[in-house]
């Protein structure tokens, strides 16, 4: 399971992997991001970002 992370500028360029709390950048070269994309492609949806930060 993953959760989107919003910055104070309301940008979302990181997703958190809840199993180990790691923060994964939206970088196509990042292997953890590649795994996240496969997870999404399998029909899963990350938890939304918190409304405030």
């Amino acid at each position: 399971m993953y959760k989107l992370i919003k910055s104070p500028r309301n940008e979302i360029n990181v997703v958190q992997r809840l199993s180990d709390t790691a923060f994964i950048p939206f970088d196509p070269a990042n292997t953890d991001y590649q795994e996240y994309l496969k997870w999404v492609a399998a029909g899963n949806t990350p938890l939304p970002a918190d409304s405030g930060n």
């Binding site: 990181v14 992997r17 180990d20 709390t21 790691a22 950048p25 990042n30 930060n53």
Partner: protein, 370 residues
Amino acid sequence: MSYGTLSLDSITTSTGQVIGASSASTMKNRIINGDMRIDQRNAGAVYSFGSAVSGFSLDRMACNNQSGGATITVQQSSSAPAGFQNSLAVVVTTGTTLSGSSYARLYQGFEGYNMSDLGWGTAAAKTVTLSFWVQSSIAGTHSMILQNYAATQAYAITYNISTANTWTYCTANVPGCTTGTWGTNNNCWGYLSINLGSATSQQITSGSWTTISSYVNGSPGSVNLAATTGATWNITGLQLEVGSQATTFDFRHYQQELALCQRYFQKSYDQGTAQGTSTWYGAVDSYLGSATTNPNAFPVLFRVEMRGAPTITLWDATGGGTPHIGTVYKGAYNQTGSALNPCSSGFVGYCNTSQSSAEIGFQWTAAAEL
């Protein structure tokens, strides 16, 4: 007395090896941490890979255990042949029968920037030579695989350990692969996969390039280490170099080797301190004023440029072996935090807290592995 200048394009050794051009460069060995000196994550502690567990042990050396039942530990060891100080030690604490599509492997991924001069995937592909020191409790024929990231081309290498528990020097030539796609930038070029056990469906015949449709892990008839409880295996002096002749191991300065590792993994902790250790040494640490404050941002610049934007883990500096989300106030108040804007040069640790007169900080690790 004055001395003249000797200017040569190359030197041919008595064994026919030509030293020059690429083979005399500072990057003769394309393997990083081949002498198993660097262990940033675990600082020499045992790392256990249970069934269906993958991850990194020593720097640049990953383990993927899909054996369907075996438990494998990996640890930096002081057992090593003359001239080396360390090896990577594998112990099969629980063995299992390898069947179906099961396998267990160690592997190192190569970055395209460091391999593109080999010309693989073209008619000009260069031959490479693999060399290493190895010992195992199980004598016999073992195997490794060189395969591209696209999982379309693979070459199985076999090596023989004639006497159990005895350091043995092994070499193997691999002809350049003239087909397939091999990375040329900061993405993965391919993998050296060291077979610790594989079902027959995961194996290819050694000695020639084979077209594959998914990653493979071994060669028929080679030792399945993961099948034997108590089996041990060590490796060091692992080297992959251009040419058909194995040459002496390319010892690099410690700081140079560490920096090469840090392109793929780095940490706030001192070297020698494992991630998750209870310590403020190295932590990003700040003291908040008496006024109640809210957003706190902690810029972190990496020691060396990373391969790409890394995955960031924030760790509780007050201890605990498990990753902790965010920051800590003197061990009393756990605050929610996050890592924002990770990029190859750094990230921002961020905590929105209402604490005041507080010490706030965290340890971090960053991973941009292949």
